[in-house]
Symmetry: C2
Subunit: 157 residues, 2 copies
């Protein structure tokens, strides 16, 4: 198993599989090539036997440089429960802390209970929200009409 910075060459193989990794949800549209071209120093892939089995796309906020943002994480369904997500997040935390960030932000869909549990286990807290359902605070229409999101933040202090 090898963890390394993402490269532009990773774009094609990742968009070819990512919808399948997400159980058929249309996710590839969230991964335009620009993320693989311009955020290589805070985005990572994990390879095993020459194939990518997990990746993280993140960046330092350009206009709020003490904030870091995790845009997308994908893990091959056969390689879950191995701690790959934890490893990617910890490498990201370390990388952006070294660049002067003091918080990490990310969002997820309220329906994505696996993601919510994962982020809580990684020390994230839910920030500002306008609704609560089943004890879960979330923000309606955060990413467009009907695109409710849970907003997470984690201190790096």
């Amino acid at each position: 198993m090898n963890i390394r910075p993402i490269s532009e060459h990773d774009h094609a193989p990742i968009v070819a599989v990512v919808d399948q990794w997400w159980g058929g949800r249309q996710m590839a549209g969230l991964l335009p090539r620009l993320f693989f071209a311009h955020f290589q120093d805070t985005s990572f892939a994990i390879e095993e036997h020459g194939r990518i089995i997990a990746f993280l796309i993140g960046f330092v906020s350009q206009s709020q440089p003490r904030q870091a943002y995790i845009h997308f994480v994908g893990i091959h369904p056969d390689h879950r429960k191995r701690g790959l997500g934890k490893r990617l997040y910890e490498l990201f935390f370390e990388t952006v802390r070294a660049r002067g960030c003091d918080t990490v932000h990310c969002i997820t869909a309220p329906i994505n209970s696996g993601s919510i549990a994962f982020h809580r286990s990684m020390g994230f807290q839910i920030e500002k929200s306008d609704h609560v359902r089943d004890s879960l605070p979330f923000t309606t229409d955060y990413d467009g009409p009907g695109q409710d999101r849970v907003l997470f933040v984690r201190s790096l202090a």
Copy 2:
């Protein structure tokens, strides 16, 4: 007419109209809120009578900081041919030059002849490509399967 940095509050009104501005093409998916939250210092909106009539989303490449990238430009159909695109691009050039960039990159679809003519008029040249059709060089599958793109670059020297 007022030109100003983009803000997070601009996300909802822009995604509500952008598909219509593009003649019904599904474009809003290319504008997740993150661009309005984290790239405010190199992204701009033009307002007139309190409404946004044009905007540009761009950033400095984090991993190649001498490169700048223009991700998305939208102009209200009733306000074309007024030089708004030119004004947005010139402000972007000036802003990223001051941040140490020496080139600006962007991409467009080979079918988008208006965009191609605009970029040529703004001093962009077409960079590396693997196909030529009707004298137009482009790169096949650049942004995923079937997503051919014309790759533009412009020197800021």
